[in-house]
Symmetry: C3
Subunit: 467 residues, 3 copies
């Protein structure tokens, strides 16, 4: 049992029965619910030959698998290697970063298949899944990985699983409101994934505020090699973001266009990030924190508009601005948020996801409002915004208004949901560590001994501290 | 010349002439054999335009390249980065892990193209290859990478090349027996790759038993950073496993279904692995060895059945069970195997590949035996199990029996083949290191000097040890 | 301000205003030029539905996106992770390797989209881009990454941006001469990317010769972990090279064939590299420098011929030879180039790109000259070499001659261009470091403090050195 000298209160971080219980019970629940509800969609079912005939398809290549599977794998890498390694920058929390991200994402994708399935793929009492569902489940979990960034190093694995359970649920509700009720476009998730995920995480970390966190200040930095590990995460996120934003866009030009816009935005973002990283530092040196994070803001900020006719130069502009905003955020906002608003944001998700997510929502609303039949073509216009059925008469400016409403709803869901979930996570039963043992793998992981003795000295959580 | 104090015998690990000779002679042999036998298949040959007309194909997108190349690249990453980095967990054997894996796989894929080509792509005296052959060659080498895991750190590069030569040969024979003679389904290789590869490797390491291996006990563990390198391997294997199991399935629904089943199985496996890793340790802490390995058992265990109508919840069940079996294996079986059966299994392939491979074979047999026309559809049923030609009258239950026979044949080939190859590798001419210098890159690699002096002290293999 | 004791001259490495100014001004220029010139190509434009009808395409899968996007992403990984991490082998220049590569590539792809667009995709005053343009931009930047390898650790980020600006321009001109004027085939860029890029970089580093570079000799080596980081780069380059060489080949058999040839060449290259690495070292041990680099020469050396009917055994031969040449280069040529020709080639690009690039050009010329209608088929022959229009009457031997001319032109452009650009980079205004601070991240990067004090001691560039 870990004891905290400074706070004078015992913290029980012993996971032996609690963590297995949660993991196993929830996995059993998944099996039961999958057994009742989840079936293969038509394109993954062995009846596909008949389906193909009915749909008048002449070739197996028309199976959605071939349109989306490469993008799916790229997104998959972003969730598990991208987010996982991005967070390994801390000198003594690499196991937790990559390992807990692995755990929460593996649970989250199962729960997301169900939640999103009930909302979007439900027919005759069953959820029918295909590759697009896998992508959407990964997307949903992406918002949890984002929120994880705010509380990295300060929470137990059980807290993360509880947060995942609730956040995936709220994500799916929010997504349903936006996509189905407001009929909003958000293929790359500026609103549903980034804005929602980031403000949710920031609200949670606000509720979980730790006044004595400076006790683990020595472990909040990076070391030379951990910064290189983090760059693996950065680069995979950066390189595959065009796949992320195009993964669930309509077949054909929309996927193609999304990839190009995202590519352009991200390229521009790197230059403005480098510029401001150097400019905002007295010695003019580049800061790895900015390079690891702010270079990605360009992907977030075109998440809504990438599949629209944003145009390559529009993408460069959006990417440039978001790189600047994000870097400035790391230098000025993050310290402000911590000291004034008591928001302790370990990875700076406010700069990488929250602000760029808002930019993305706004750019999306503007781009939608500015759409014309001239630019999109008559058919392309209808297809791009799905102005069919009851939405046949919706105009671009009205669409723009609904897009803006989507931002507001996402924010509201994030704040209210984050406050409630934060309250739940504050209960003293989940096994989080004392402030002095935050950002420390030794609390929940077996750590190789030889380094423990040489390089690093932790407050041993297995013995009561000698006062 | 390295001398072993304890064993009192000299070990000659000098590679200068032996390793180059083997590499060069074998590469020349490959060139000659490729020159005589290997040609481009119809879809990679410049005559494709005519072929297309003959096959009545209207588009280049019907070329198998576009069905399989993305999966091929994912498999390629699994073999070279996945297996290579998974084995970098040892503190002083990262070069050997990634470098020897590179060497044996690069040789193995050439030899596999020939061996598998003779069995499966041989026509008019030539082997005609395309992207599917590349995938199969990678698969075949995957079984060698698995076996390498058992003997990691204890063998010379020449031994590894010799093992690769024989194992690829035996793999191809076994694969031919299963796929062609028994008409067994095994697209993800639970039997041909994992069961065969693992039991082959375990038999080899048994024959090569080193009674004094505790002399290098200090080098058998990991350090903090090496565990993170290993996680790169783990995650790439985990993420791309859906591509692995679907890579050579039939076009269309079968590939699609394989990917979904594998995705589900792997997700479930992570949760049960985490649960048991924490549960089986007194302090309740998670063990990186389990997270790095047992989380992958879910991919192995659906290798045969993923392309069948296993269903998502079936996959969750299989994944859950295999995570538990694998983790329990690391805690209880691995020490038992070493102390009682003298099987020194460096990476624990018994837990990651052998047992889950058996599960995979059994699940495949059951799933095949349980197949009905109702579930698969009339056409789908025939297509899924290839019940055409002489197999037109085979029933699911008979198919299940043949699947079970496939497991037995793979085991038999592994034990007999492993014993013979182990015997060959035991000859004192291959340049393996003494027990005290096992798990040590300095024996076969130039190691950067500054670390050698500071961080690490090896028994210098270049001078006779001063007694 | 950094002072150099030995040279007695002050070196101002302060980046605070210069780097941001260059980055921001150039990004603004990109936005303006993109605004004026760059538009979506037909397959990425919302008018695609109409386009599809006009081109008589029945399915969205015919969009070039689905033919090339998976290859594009692989190439993207090669440029950013492949080249970036390959260069992290230096013990104290990991940030610079991965970070500056990121910076120059992000700028370079924007500028390349314009330059290559003006030459190849320009119509009615606009550049129309699609996924093939993204691949070509990445290719172009690849040549800059190669040149970066020669000057790694010795230049400021501004110098790198200046070099990128000029090199992309020259690359595009050279590419235009080769592909359009000489009508040369070079899909994998043996001439345009590797020969040009490498000799350009070697010329630049010759002009920038630093006589006192031995002052930073202690930082020119690797440490154990940095060699493993570099292997990440190596493996991603190695694995994805089949995608690189096939990415812009014709749809269908040409892409398929390119991938197979490259796969074979690279496999063979690994064996001969290992052989010669061990053979050329007295102790017979393997050298990570060779494994990290020479194993890739096989990909370079089939860059021109991979899409031709080189045949698998031809690829094995080319790969084998290039592995030998490259390894021999590292052992004998690199020291010679430095001591006699004053060419300081940090990464040994002469061995990995220059010589194998020449081999690639020559092999391409021979393969083209040897082409017959018998081997390619009547249609395949015309399609493979694009013998249409004014080139209808060109014979294979003439084509071979033009291919050889392409090598010469690339060399000429590289030498002349490199000399001029080297001269520009020699101007004392770009903020490069003194010889004693080369290969040192601390000059341009915030480096984590705790390691700075423990592990590593640099000549502090922030204070004048006490003489």
């Amino acid at each position: 049992v870990e004891r905290s000298r400074h706070q004078g209160m015992a913290k029980n971080t012993y996971m032996r029965w609690r963590l297995p219980l949660v993991c196993l019970l929830w996995e059993v629940a998944m099996i039961v619910l999958f057994g009742v509800f989840v079936r293969f969609g038509a394109e993954a079912d062995a009846h596909w030959e008949e389906e193909k005939r009915e749909m008048n398809l002449t070739s197996d290549i028309e199976n959605d698998f071939y349109f989306r599977y490469p993008s799916f794998q790229d997104v998959h890498v972003m969730i598990f290697v991208g987010f996982g390694f991005l967070m390994t920058f801390l000198k003594r929390y690499g196991f937790g970063a990559v390992g807990f991200n692995f755990l929460l994402a593996a649970f989250g994708i199962q729960w997301a298949l169900l939640m999103q399935g009930w909302f979007h793929s439900f027919k005759d009492g069953k959820i029918f899944i295909g590759v697009e569902n896998l992508i959407n489940a990964d997307f949903c979990v992406g918002s949890v990985c984002i929120a994880f960034g705010a509380i990295l190093g300060k929470t137990s694995p059980i807290q993360l699983l509880v947060m995942t359970l609730f956040q995936v649920t709220l994500f799916s509700v929010n997504e349903y409101i936006l996509l189905n009720l407001l009929h909003v476009k958000d293929a790359g998730g500026s609103m549903t994934i980034h804005t929602f995920g980031a403000y949710f995480g920031l609200t949670v970390t606000r509720v979980l505020y730790r006044p004595n966190l400076e006790q683990s200040k020595d472990k909040q930095g990076s070391v030379y090699h951990s910064d290189l590990f983090a760059m693996i995460g950065t680069l995979y996120l950066w390189m595959y973001w065009p796949s992320f934003n195009s993964a669930i866009s309509d077949h054909g030009d929309a996927q193609h266009r999304s990839a190009i816009n995202t590519y352009c935005s991200l390229a521009a973002c790197v230059l403005t990030t480098m510029a401001f990283s150097s400019m905002l530092q007295k010695k003019g040196k580049l800061d790895m924190v900015h390079i690891q994070n702010a270079t990605l803001a360009g992907g977030v900020a075109v998440g809504t508009s990438a599949e629209m006719m944003l145009t390559p130069y529009g993408s460069l502009i959006v990417g440039s601005i978001s790189g600047i905003v994000s870097t400035v955020g790391y230098v000025y906002f993050t310290p402000f948020l911590e000291s004034r608003l008591h928001i302790q944001d370990t990875c700076g998700i406010h700069n990488l996801h929250a602000m760029p997510g808002l930019i993305g929502g706004i750019v999306g609303a503007i781009t939608a409002a500015a759409a014309t039949e001239d630019v999109y073509g008559k058919e392309g216009f209808i297809k791009a915004f799905d102005f069919t059925g009851v939405y046949q008469t919706r105009t671009p400016s009205v669409q723009g208004g609904f897009q803006a409403a989507g931002i507001m709803v996402s924010l509201l869901m994030a704040f209210v949901g984050g406050a409630i979930v934060g309250g739940i996570l504050k209960l003293p039963i989940w096994g989080d560590a004392a402030a002095e043992n935050c950002f420390e793998d030794g609390v929940y992981w077996e750590v190789p001994e030889d380094e423990e003795s040489d390089v690093y000295h932790m407050h041993n959580p297995d013995k009561p501290a000698s006062p």
